[in-house]
């Protein structure tokens, strides 16, 4: 076995082992085992770095190391079904591994500080161990998902992540809102998982394999050409099913409702699961099956879902006062960006943004956690203000990452967002009927800069607006160190430092970054021309897009400064100019929850379940079950009579009673104890034997 494969297997295995150990003896370990969980993930991180450097030294888009083991092979039964589980290390998974292990390790470190004081000292800290064991299990599942070479083990890890998400959102289980949020997240993602599962099974039914490699080969060898399911092209249906899985997991329109509520979980969880890793697992999945989406023609749907999500989530973020809610909507919006650009057709840009976003969003969430921590668990930004002089480390980290997400040049978000805008511009240039997508993308760019700087100004600038804000203290080193590391990684250089030997020639040019270079979209026969055209258009659109993005970002920042920094403009007066229905729509989150609960559930599902309960009661219980009782009663009576008459009367009393009596009476005389009679019988028997000897 390749040693790299061993490293790859170690990466999820270590957190998993930590999970099991914490489950069994966690509370008896010193410090309740937080070091075990953190140490495991740091070791995983080292393994991931080892793999990453192996990839780096073989700098090539085609680098791949994979190995799979047969789990079930039905070919001996003449069924061409084969279930393999395996590891696939390519540029995509190697980069992703480093990102996930790094974020997870830093968030583990952050959690030690955050959760420890949250629950008193570790010695008496309630459920401190559970928290770390859940984090470990989640990390193991996420890493298992990343190294999977097939959809099957990916799906298993996917579901484990869903479970961990449920457990961690509802971690403060004494709060009804947290319990409800965890349930909501679980149920909503379940809708998406159903789609993914259907897609998965359809792939297996068609190909007899779950492996990505087989899927790519099947697409290029034309297996899907004339394949149809229910009269719809199979590739479209499967691609849509898998995309619905992503919609659930990555909280895209229309299943976005669970992510803002998921902020009920502890802040490190929001950083790890609901910003950096789990929600991007959905993006990772559609990046993995991108050829299928492209071949099946699902991409337009993908693009619109992404566009709608990124724009409308950004609008929601403007009106939030809870610091975590702003970040939650911003996560939705950025995930929408990734989906949008994937739908537009740029595989590698989506992945690029995934990585940069994970880094700066993990930092933003942890920084907000540090702010909340310093504010004694006050999350309302209206109570904050003036924190920049108290939080010496948190503030610069948050400022850097905010500039990154807003697309300020020199930061990672600028590079990736600029590429997204360029591709969307190029796409719209090629397909003018989809101009709405460009509007979504560009409007979101401006809105993002606005609401993020609104957050910064409301939190860090101005005068303190509460007692807690006046007496805020900087957090301990294990909380600000992760922020510092992630903030350092939010600089553009990390991603666009040229690897081809030209130095840092392209710090401001987003075209040359190693992530995009390493991850060209997998080959799809027949798609070359369209891709080429898109690349061409995006290349031409690059400078206009960059300029537009700069204008929009600086405009957003400027307005945020005017309204919340210097307060020259009154936000309240401006907001009164918006029509009332807009406010209402935003306050009610576009009526999605209302629609799902009042319309879908109460008007549709509940009556339906009432009806089906009635069917159950009347048809099944009363008619079938009770009716069957009557039928069986008649049968019982008949068989009772039969029992009495035939079995008891004739068989038992008659045959069973009379025959043995008669037989016994007649045979009794044989056993009368008289020797002469015995002798007589013997003689007669002997004579009979002699008599019949000749016959026989």
């Amino acid at each position: 076995m390749d040693s790299l494969i061993l490293y790859a297997l170690l990466i999820p295995a270590l957190p998993l082992a930590a999970y099991f150990i914490l489950c069994v003896v966690g509370n008896r370990l010193p410090r309740q085992g937080d070091w075990l969980s953190t140490g495991a993930i740091f070791t995983s991180f080292l393994c991931a770095v080892r793999i990453f450097f192996e990839m780096w030294s073989n700098f090539s888009p085609d680098w791949v190391v994979q190995q799979s083991w047969t789990w079930m092979d039905l070919s001996t039964l003449n069924i061409p079904w084969k279930l393999d589980l395996g590891v696939r290390l390519d540029n995509l998974s190697a980069t992703m591994l480093v990102m996930v292990t790094l974020c997870a390790a830093l968030i583990h470190l952050f959690s030690i500080g955050y959760m420890r004081d949250h629950h008193g000292k570790p010695e008496d800290g309630y459920r401190y161990t559970s928290f770390f064991s859940y984090l470990s299990l989640f990390t193991a599942a996420m890493l298992g998902l990343v190294i999977s070479d097939n959809l099957f083990s990916l799906f298993m890890c996917w579901e484990v992540m869903g479970l961990c998400s449920y457990l961690l959102i509802g971690f403060y289980r004494h709060k009804p809102s947290a319990a409800n949020a965890s349930l909501k997240a679980f149920m909503t993602t379940r809708v998406g998982d159903l789609g993914l599962f259907i897609g998965l099974l359809a792939i297996f039914a068609l190909l007899g394999s779950f492996r990505f490699e087989d899927l790519y080969n099947a697409i290029n060898s034309g297996v899907f050409t004339n394949e149809q399911i229910l009269g719809i092209p199979a590739a479209f249906l499967i691609g849509l099913g898998i995309f619905i899985g992503t919609v659930g997991k990555s909280a895209q329109f229309p299943l976005q409702i669970w992510l803002p509520d998921a902020m009920e979980g502890p802040t490190p969880v929001s950083a790890l699961i609901h910003a950096a890793t789990m929600v991007s697992a959905g993006i990772y999945l559609i990046i993995r099956v991108f050829p299928l989406l492209e071949y099946g023609g699902v991409l337009t749907i993908v693009a619109y879902v992404g566009g709608i999500t990124c724009f409308f989530a950004a609008i929601l973020a403007i009106k939030q006062n809870d610091i975590k809610k702003v970040l939650a909507y911003s996560t939705l919006s950025q995930l929408g960006y990734m989906v949008l650009v994937l739908g537009v057709g740029s595989y590698s840009t989506s992945f690029f943004h995934l990585i940069t976003h994970a880094v700066f969003k993990a930092c933003l969430f942890m920084a907000s956690g540090a702010v909340i921590f310093a504010m004694h668990h006050e999350q309302d930004m209206r109570e904050m203000g003036g924190l920049k002089k108290h939080l010496k480390f948190t503030f610069p980290a948050m400022l850097i990452t905010t500039m990154a997400i807003s697309g300020v040049p020199g930061f990672s978000g600028f590079a990736s967002k600029d590429k997204i805008l360029a591709y969307v511009w190029g796409y719209v240039h090629l397909h003018p009927q989809h101009a709405l997508l460009a509007f979504f993308a560009y409007a979101t760019a401006g809105l993002t800069a606005f609401y993020m700087f609104r957050l910064i100004f409301m939190t860090f600038w101005g005068a303190p607006r509460s007692k807690h804000a006046e007496h805020a203290h900087e957090v301990t080193w294990n909380m600000w160190l992760p922020l510092a590391i992630l903030a350092a990684l939010s600089f553009c250089v990390v991603y666009t430092g040229s690897v081809t030997g030209f130095g840092f020639d392209s710090i401001f040019g987003a075209a040359n970054n190693w992530i995009t270079k390493l991850n060209p979209a997998p080959l799809v026969v027949g798609a070359e021309a369209a891709r080429q055209a898109l690349e061409e258009a995006a290349h031409h659109a690059h400078y206009p897009a960059m300029i537009a993005s700069l204008i929009l970002a600086s405009g957003g920042i400027f307005f945020a400064y005017l309204m919340y920094g210097s307060r020259r403009l009154s936000a309240e007066k401006l907001s009164k100019k918006w029509p009332n229905f807009v406010h209402k729509a935003i306050d009610n989150l576009y009526y999605f929850d209302w629609f799902y609960i009042k319309v879908l559930i109460q008007k549709l599902f509940l009556p339906f379940s009432d009806k089906s309960a009635k069917v159950d009661n009347v048809l099944l219980d009363r008619v079938l079950v009770d009716g069957w009782k009557d039928v069986t009663m008649v049968g019982q009576k008949a068989s009772g009579i039969f029992d009495d008459m035939v079995v008891d009367g004739v068989m038992v009393d008659g045959v069973g009673g009379m025959l043995p009596t008669a037989l016994g009476n007649s045979l009794r005389s044989l056993q009368n104890g008289k020797v002469q009679r015995y002798l007589m019988v013997a003689v007669v028997a002997l004579m009979l034997l002699f008599l019949f000897r000749g016959v026989v």
Binding site: Q671, N672, G673, K674, V675, Q676, L679, M680, V683
Partner: protein, 111 residues
Amino acid sequence: MMNLASNLPAFLAFSFLLFSFGIVAALSRKSAIGVFMGVELMLNAAALNFVAFQTLRRGVVENGHWLHGHIFSLFVIILAAIEAAVALAIVLRIFGNRQTIDMDRATELKG
């Protein structure tokens, strides 16, 4: 002397009669002594048969097989004597126990 060989059927007929009387006596007599006597008759019928059939083996005298029948009949007589001793002892014990030797009264074997 009578030619035994030529009169074999007569001997066999006599032996048959003897055996028949014996078996009828053994089966029908109430007295244990009668039964015992019937058994003696049957044994002697068998011994007579041995002697009678020995005559058929005249031709093989040279090989020293000419006395087998007679020797067997002697064995039968000895056996009958032993049996008489044992049987009379049993009859005496039965009489000692129940003051009768009626066979119909001895029904301990009844199942």
